[in-house]
Symmetry: D2
């Protein structure tokens, strides 16, 4: 039973193999009457684009989005918004050597086992190419979230073992985008760049961590007991390629606190009830409390190395997989808009869901 749809009221269904004709999706449940900002959409897409700096993959995807439906005279119709991006930079022959070989820590083996056949060209459906559809849909979600004034900002908080000290505080979008690795702390950013360059020389790869802050969300988002806000955020993030971990608020560090350290004391700011600290990450009992929603997402290192690896082919014979092509050393800088997009889809969906929570 398929798993290509995300969301409950605002539903995104994506399609596409990396070297098929196109990738894209249908965003359904988007309310009528929202002003559509196509320039914003293009900028968001550009943020995901490969080849943005010397640090990342040079596949030249032009990634022009074609919107097929759902918009009329600059506003959403309330009907499905379908969109696609043609796969222009297809060189399927580059992948002939993978026809029968299972790359370590890739999805080649598992897709073969599940489906009995697979599109081996560039990862097929398992390729991160699919996330272009998420970024497009996320842009629409962000347009919708302008209405209640909710903003979503992600940034790279760690590359390999180089990490920022203090997460979640006042991420400044300008500082983030000024950094080639999208880390708002300039000193850490420089160290990350150095580490990436060193690692590239070794033909090796790096993982990292993205932190994300949702600002301006009202109290009340999240649906107990299973669709808790952070449970849906967690699923959204874990569905992104290469993600292996998710934590909200003080997260795993907080599991080592005493309750008296972890608890967020309530107080007031004018008439508004707030918490003094925010170890909860803006979510209590699965429902947003009006504070910033903050979470971390852990990405494993890129699986494609620029050096030889041992593996097996589909008959179980050992083969050597040569390191070739040009690949990212780490995906985290490019994954920032993907994290934001998935967060925007979750928050927009829950904002809509919350409209019917009470009479």
């Amino acid at each position: 039973m398929p798993g290509n749809t995300f969301g409950t009221i605002l539903k995104l269904t994506t399609f596409g193999e990396s070297h098929g004709k196109a990738v894209g999706g249908i965003l359904d449940g988007f309310p009528a009457g929202v002003e559509i900002d196509e320039d914003f959409l293009k900028r968001e897409l550009a943020r995901r684009k490969p080849g943005q700096s010397e640090l990342v993959s040079q596949r030249k995807e032009e990634d022009e989005v074609e919107i097929l439906s759902g918009i009329f005279e600059g506003r959403s119709l309330g009907t499905p918004i379908a969109f696609l991006v043609w796969n222009k930079d297809k060189k399927p022959e580059d992948y002939d050597h993978l026809k029968t070989t299972y790359r370590p820590s890739h999805a080649d083996f598992t897709y073969s086992q599940k489906y009995g056949l697979r599109d081996y060209r560039g990862g097929g459906r398992a390729s991160a190419r699919e996330t272009v559809a998420r970024v497009i849909a996320g842009s629409f979600a962000k347009m919708l979230l302008r209405e209640p004034g909710i903003t979503i900002t992600a940034y790279v908080s760690a590359v390999g073992s180089v990490a920022m000290d203090k997460p979640f505080n006042n991420p400044d979008m300008a500082l983030i985008d000024a950094s080639p690795v999208r880390c708002p702390d300039q000193e850490t950013s420089s160290k990350m760049i150095d580490l990436i360059k060193e690692t590239a020389k070794k033909g090796d790869t790096l993982g990292g961590q993205i932190s994300c802050v949702v600002h301006g969300a009202p109290a009340g988002l999240g649906e107990p007991v299973f669709d808790k806000l952070h449970a849906d955020l967690g699923k959204a993030m874990l569905s992104i390629n290469a993600v292996k971990g998710f934590e909200i608020g003080s997260g795993f560090a907080g599991t080592r606190y005493y309750g008296s350290q972890q608890n967020d004391e309530f107080t007031t700011d004018g008439n508004r009830i707030i918490t003094k600290t925010n170890n909860s990450g803006g979510v209590q009992g699965g429902i947003s409390n009006g504070m910033d929603i903050g979470f971390n997402v852990g990405f494993k290192p890129v699986s494609t190395l620029m050096k030889d690896q041992k593996t097996v082919d589909e008959d179980g014979h050992q083969v050597i997989l040569e390191g070739k092509g040009r690949h990212d050393v780490t995906v985290v800088p490019r994954a920032v808009p993907i994290v934001e997009a998935m967060a925007a889809l979750v928050i927009a969906d829950h904002w809509l869901r919350n409209q019917v929570a009470r009479v």
Copy 2:
């Protein structure tokens, strides 16, 4: 829009407030013809029961499950299995002081904001009492998983800052259940117990970590791209009360590895293709690869302290919340069967989903 249902083919819907008449649920999509082992169900429920040792809460819930439908002459009918547990140990008057007060890091404030009213008695719907329904449903899922020979074993791998060294390896159910804190490593178990006792004296509380291993799952479970196996496991775990983090395989630690360290080299074991290491935690591209599926779940410290805390009431006036009653210092030992139950529901659902992946 509600969030009280979990799963796609195997669907659990739960109901109940902690001090209402009953808690329970409906498990739909459970295939016909499965032998029902009611003794096993009772044992599972007993593992979750409070008051099992001096270390945990003394509320005497008898927690006798009443099955209302879906079973006939010892086998499942293919129709919904409804079940409930009556709330016998209700002392709603114990909670009168919470009518207008928002306990720090509890769900009182967020439920009020979302719904405009709340059942303030003992946490209402937000109480961990709800998880009794998950354990019951999870027991059925485990009965179903006997068919393909899949087992699920969780244990406490950390309490506060006391942690086991090596997770995921050969968890032995007998050792786990022999430990009052459900930690299979006896030395660590003792340290955990000491820490809990010390902390209890201070009126403070502790968080911790549960590790879980799914053994015997075939390759092929998991549905790209959104319903990746670990994304659904992550959501399942994050939907459990007090959970703040989830990681699969090498998880957050793995984000600091080089790709050459993280990658799991393919090799063979007889005719079977396996991986030499298992940093992937048994899942690649969102689909199980036949290795053990291993993940960690982080729980924050219990929010109810046995010492006074500052907070506000619904009018924003500052009040002191007295520490009283008897509560767990940490939930992790009792949460072990809950983690297993949610894992069983996810794996069973995906096992069913995978039946229709190909012709």
Copy 3:
């Protein structure tokens, strides 16, 4: 994959076999803050009760509903409303002769084929006993619909070949409930009663038709393209036991009109745009237009006869099924509240769905 849940935002999941412990359900997605009128609920349930007149089955179901969750101090909490009715009048031994025999036009054979086993006592899950849960849930839906002022009224418009002349016009609840067959036209009502009595003497049974009018629904309910309002109403009605047909507005008769006869001319009533005629039955393009929503539901004759029938047992051997017990000659009078309940669930769900159609 199960089919025991109905609705998208307002979701009803039912459970229960006719001779199991209980039947009931969980109504999820019911907004918080709705005043709960338990007397109304009891009256609705009483309308469905067997043994209300000499014309219908004498099984004495007391049908007292027990509400287990979701309501607090007279108002809905926004959490799942679980409810059950115990099966008190169980005489499973009455059904021993059906253990291996397939009753004509009953579900015995198909359940056996699908599930490989079945609860043969009184129809098990296939029994109309399940509809008690629908009536309970429908009562809650009607309470919710008081908010926008929507009312739902059904009545018997045909029993066998005795039919009312003019359907859909001003159904008067008092006249309906004054008739033992729930037909508001007194003359037709008398003829229906005569026909039922005659047919009873012959040991035979009758079908019939229920008409239903939804009054006060605003324009805008219904979700193109698949969840058109009348498509969801149709599914709802066809899911009721013994229903074989559904039509909206002029229905099948309208298929024989010319377009110039069928079309509903727009005009105004004060400031409001209305249609002069209502052959559309209040729905155009799948969306309500503000006029009364009217539809007909066709019920086949009761399958259990009071005379002998030929059939086969599970081994394919011919057997004679004796006519015994006491059964309704026709279900339509008792099905009136069931039709209303399912209509209320559909309309309430779509009323909620429409809250998020536009910003």
Copy 4:
């Protein structure tokens, strides 16, 4: 909340306005390994095409389908199958006069009321143009149903008041497609053609009825209690433009039978248990019984007349809507493949659902 997705395991989501860029959809849940017959797909699409005879609309849609994903080397991948048809014959200026006018019995008024804006060009999303996506998806469903040997055949059984005598019996595809109105009974077909021509002269339009037979379905399809097979078929049919009624088996006529006439006596054919008659239409208790599944679908007359009609504009002012353009007198001949497509989607979905009904 959106309604553009149909199905549970096999899910079709469609998109597109009639005069937007394209219409199309994503078919998800289609199992891997199915051989894809693109010629068959083209033939199916050709059956729906306008301008096939003098009897139907002359809009020249070339309707070439472009498949974007999900197929590799002639077989399905198990990933979403996305497809589109470009809207080539767009003349939006033809519709300027409809910008502010509500056509009688069209969806102009209801879309405006629901969404606050609408794409007025040619019906926008409400146009029957959307059904091209259904026919494409239905073709894939038919390819899947070749596996279990299930065939689906629909035909026109009535146009206006000209109706076939005996429905459901041995529909011969060759005879159906030989008739310009797709009625397999030649004499009735001629009368229908005469009626259509006469009506065209008057500038008026006609409705009609399509009958459909599903042959070869095993016993066991259908999911009690809400997703009964005929309930899902009913919803599928009622979601097609202009459909106002649905009945299965003896349908509304059967509501006037006595039980002793309606009941289908069980007997055997060799080792197989069958029924002597088939008033049930192949479905009992919501589950297929292995006999042919037969149902009727009622279509109202086309709403666009070739003569003047009174109506109102968006300000409530009375206007005269002139009859112009070239439109079908009746949609039923062209709707035959649409009925088949929707039936195929329902049956394929339930065939997949039934794979997990028992262990």
